[in-house]
Each structure stands twice: as structure tokens, then as C-alpha cells.
């Protein structure tokens, strides 16, 4: 397969970026999108051009590092996949593919397609944890009964890999899906309920400080989320934040 690749090139955070066009040929339809970029980069190195910088790590869809905005969609046209799980067979031979970094004020570009998603880490630091001792004499794991549907819902929320596709996709660059998934995975379980009010207040405060946009409930985030995180989480966070704001001192 042959493709024309329009890719965003930007030398550094403060530099002005722009689209550069390259051709790649002899791409197998079994290749992942990242492998196609690898081929492109080998070609660029031979031509003495700086290779395209992009984030990647596990290449099996669980780390959340690969972060490309492909043909106007986070992680490209596939559903429930990260960029490393997107295969070239999803495209037609001869296609022109536009690749951009995830764009948000809170995700500044480091170089080319690589962005700094440290804002997500700071949201987690603001409250995405439970303050319980995890060493010493611990109670038996089954001593606290947890309803099956709560356990399942908490697990579903916890499958968020923090890739930032929700922010990249959202027309407002809102981090509501990410933050609400992290709030939910803890507040649904007994250990997380203790700090639930404080957690939601602090995490939302940090989310606002980072400069993310607001939620218009378009639902685009849940469509593009590689882990299928539902906007039910956003409603849960809206509920928790409302009651925490009213009751907190």
C-alpha cells in the first residue's frame, strides 16, 4: 500500500509548527499505524531529515502513550483502539493521511506529535488516590462486601489508561471524561467513599487550573475512548461535585 502522509512538524514548544508532506510506499496492510510511522522515519533518516517524534511504549493498547490525531479523530478512524492497535488495512491504498498531535492548551506540544500530558498527573495528585495503609496487618480482601454491579462499574472506570483521547477529541478540550473516570473508580468502592467529597472538589479544581475546557455533553469522548469509558462517569462526577459543594464547609 502507498500513502501520502501530511504530518505536523514542530521543533519545540514555542516554535511555530506546520504540516509537512511525505510519501510512504510498500506498506503492508497488516502493519500497525505506528509501524507505518517507523517505516516513514527510517526513510527520513536515510534522507537526512529529522525523524517524526511521537509517543509510544507498550504497542499493545494498554499504556496510553500513543497519541496521534489521525484524519480528524483521536487514534484514527477505529473504535475502541489506540493508535498502536490501528491497522493500515483501515485505510485505502493511495489515501492521504493527516496526522496531528493531540491539541489542547493543557497538552503543550513538546516536539512534532509528542505532547506533555503532565496535567493528567497533576489531576491525579490532587485526589486520585485512597489514603489507606497498604502494608502491615491488612484486613482480608473479602471482609468488606461489595455489590457486584458497583465492583463492575468501578472496574470499568478503572480501565481508563489516561491517554487523553477524550481531551483531544472534545471540541472544548475538556478533561471531564478522564477526571470523572478517576473519581468514579474510587468513589464507587467503600475504601474510596471516605475521601469522596474532598477528592471530587480537589480534582475538579485542578482540572480547571490546568486550563481544560468545559463539558457540552456532545458525547464525542466516549465514542473515541479506546477503553469505552462511558459518560455515565461524567454524570456521576457532576452529582458528586454538586453534593460536595453544597455540604462542604
Amino acid at each position: 500500500m502507498n500513502f501520502t502522509i501530511n504530518v505536523w512538524r514542530q521543533n519545540g514548544p514555542k516554535e511555530k509548527g506546520g504540516i509537512a508532506t511525505y510519501k510512504v510506499s510498500n506498506i503492508s496492510d497488516d502493519m500497525s499505524f505506528l509501524e507505518m510511522i517507523d517505516v516513514l522515519n527510517e526513510q527520513l533518516i536515510i534522507q537526512d531529515i529529522d525523524p517524526v517524534v511521537f509517543d509510544h511504549d507498550c504497542r499493545e493498547g494498554i499504556c496510553g502513550m500513543c497519541s496521534m490525531f489521525i484524519n480528524g479523530e483521536a487514534h484514527g478512524p477505529g473504535r475502541g483502539v489506540t493508535t498502536c492497535q490501528l491497522h493500515m488495512r483501515e485505510f485505502k491504498d493511495g489515501d492521504t493521511i493527516t496526522i496531528e498531535p493531540f491539541r489542547a492548551k493543557a497538552f503543550p506540544v513538546i516536539k512534532d506529535l509528542m505532547v506533555d500530558r503532565g496535567s493528567f498527573d497533576r489531576i491525579i495528585q490532587a485526589g486520585g488516590y485512597v489514603s489507606v495503609n497498604t502494608s502491615g496487618n491488612l484486613p482480608d480482601a473479602n471482609a468488606t462486601p461489595i455489590e457486584k454491579q458497583d465492583a463492575d462499574a468501578a472496574f470499568d472506570s478503572a480501565t481508563c489508561i489516561g491517554c487523553g483521547a477524550c481531551v483531544a477529541t472534545c471540541k472544548n478540550a475538556s478533561a471531564m471524561l478522564f477526571t470523572s473516570a478517576k473519581v468514579s473508580q474510587l468513589s464507587l468502592l467503600p475504601q474510596g467513599k471516605i475521601e469522596a467529597s474532598e477528592r471530587v472538589m480537589n480534582m475538579v479544581k485542578q482540572m480547571d487550573l490546568e486550563g481544560f475546557g468545559n463539558c457540552t455533553n456532545t458525547g464525542a469522548c466516549e465514542v473515541e475512548c479506546p477503553k469505552g469509558i462511558s459518560i455515565e462517569n461524567i454524570a456521576r462526577m457532576n452529582r458528586e461535585y454538586l453534593s460536595a459543594s453544597i455540604t462542604s464547609k
Binding site: N71, G72, E100, G213, N214, N238, R239, L242
Partner: protein
């Protein structure tokens, strides 16, 4: 109660206010529509006494101030939200496939809202302002009340084709705004449930269609009759 951060200034609070004022404005649409039905039946007396009642009854006066505040809050809050949403993405995407994952109306709430606001200003100038501060001819009703003849003003206004067309377009804008807005406000207030959300979404869409078509039918009917 955490007012400064929690219920006023935070991003979530701004959305709560949007949802609450939006839902209140929806309830007004229903009342307004019912009050305007005499325009379709040609019942001049009923329409004028309704207009008289709405501008003079004390309880309605209180509610009307709540309505003005809601319109202002919904507009100003909406503008502030749109501005901060724009600021959250400084560099635009070269290619952005919005229709791949979200409905057209949900992606255009700000523009649809602005269109509705422009309509509202013109609409209030034409009728609300005239009713309150203009010189509308009066007559004595059968009950002995001195009534302003808003009915004749309204009928005359809608018999101008450009005015009727402007109304129909504006009602389509309002319809699309409500198509997403009604159910979205429930989600914002935290009401999302596997059993009830599909019903809320369906009712919200039905509401938007009924309200916009019913309101648009008034100028169309008056223009054609």
C-alpha cells in the same frame, strides 16, 4: 457551603447554572406557547386578556423578573463558557472530523444559542417593549377592562413575509438548540441512568420538535390566512 469555588466559579458550577436556567426557560416556552394558541384560533379577546393578565398580575410579575434574570444568566454564562472553551485549544486542528463522533446540534450549541438570543432581542423589541412602553391602541373589553390590542399588532407583524420567514428560521435554530440542550441539562445535573436516560433523550427531542414546529406554525398560519 462552598460558594466561591464550588457553586459559582468552577467549570461544573457554570454548567449547573446553564442547565437550571435552560430548564426554567423551557418551562416558560410551554406557558408562552399555550398563551399564544388564541392566535391560531383568531380569538382576539382571549389573546388580549392573556397579554393583559401577564403584564399586570403581581405573581406573574415576580416570575417575569426571574425569567429576565434566567435569560441574562444563560446568555452571559454561555458566552463565558464558549470563550473559555475556545481558549482551551489555542492551536486549531488542521483536520477535525466532528461529525464522526457527535451530533451537529451538540457541536453548535453556542452558535444556535446566539441565534436564539438575537431572535429574542428582536422579538422582545417587537412585542414585549411595545406592550410595556409603546403606544398600542386600547379598547374596552366585554368585562370592562381596558385592553391593549396586542393581537392586531401581532397579526400585522406576521403578515410581513420577511418577518414570518425570520421567525421560522429562528424557531428552527431554537429547535436544534433544544434537541441537544434538554437532555444535556439532565446529564449536567448528574441525572444519567441506563433505564431513564434513553427516555429523557427521547422526550427532550420530542419537546424540541413540538415546541419549534408549534411556534413556527403561528407566523406561517397568520401569513397565509
Amino acid at each position: 457551603m462552598n460558594l466561591s469555588g464550588g457553586l459559582i466559579r468552577s467549570s461544573l458550577a457554570r454548567k449547573y447554572w446553564m442547565a437550571l436556567t435552560g430548564l426554567f426557560l423551557c418551562s416558560f416556552l410551554v406557558v408562552h406557547l399555550i398563551g399564544n394558541l388564541p392566535l391560531l384560533t383568531g380569538n382576539k379577546e382571549m389573546f388580549n386578556s392573556y397579554a393583559h393578565f401577564m403584564t399586570t398580575f403581581p405573581l406573574i410579575k415576580i416570575v417575569s423578573y426571574l425569567l429576565y434574570i434566567s435569560i441574562l444568566l444563560h446568555s452571559v454564562d454561555g458566552l463565558l463558557l464558549a470563550r473559555s472553551n475556545k481558549a482551551a485549544r489555542e492551536t486549531r486542528y488542521v483536520k477535525y472530523n466532528g461529525k464522526a463522533n457527535a451530533s451537529w446540534s451538540s457541536r453548535n450549541m453556542a452558535i444556535l444559542g446566539t441565534l436564539t438570543l438575537v431572535f429574542l432581542i428582536i422579538h422582545m423589541k417587537s412585542f414585549w417593549y411595545e406592550m410595556h412602553f409603546g403606544n398600542i391602541p386600547t379598547y374596552m373589553s366585554g368585562d370592562g377592562d381596558e385592553l391593549k390590542d396586542l393581537y392586531s399588532i401581532t397579526v400585522a407583524a406576521f403578515q410581513q413575509p420577511w418577518y414570518a420567514v425570520f421567525y421560522v428560521i429562528s424557531m428552527m435554530g431554537l429547535g436544534f438548540h433544544l434537541w441537544h440542550g434538554v437532555s444535556s441539562s439532565f446529564q449536567t445535573l448528574g441525572i444519567n441512568h441506563a433505564k431513564y436516560t434513553p427516555i429523557i433523550e427521547m422526550l427532550g427531542k420530542a419537546f424540541s420538535v413540538i415546541i419549534s414546529i408549534a411556534f413556527a406554525s403561528i407566523p406561517v398560519y397568520l401569513l397565509l390566512s
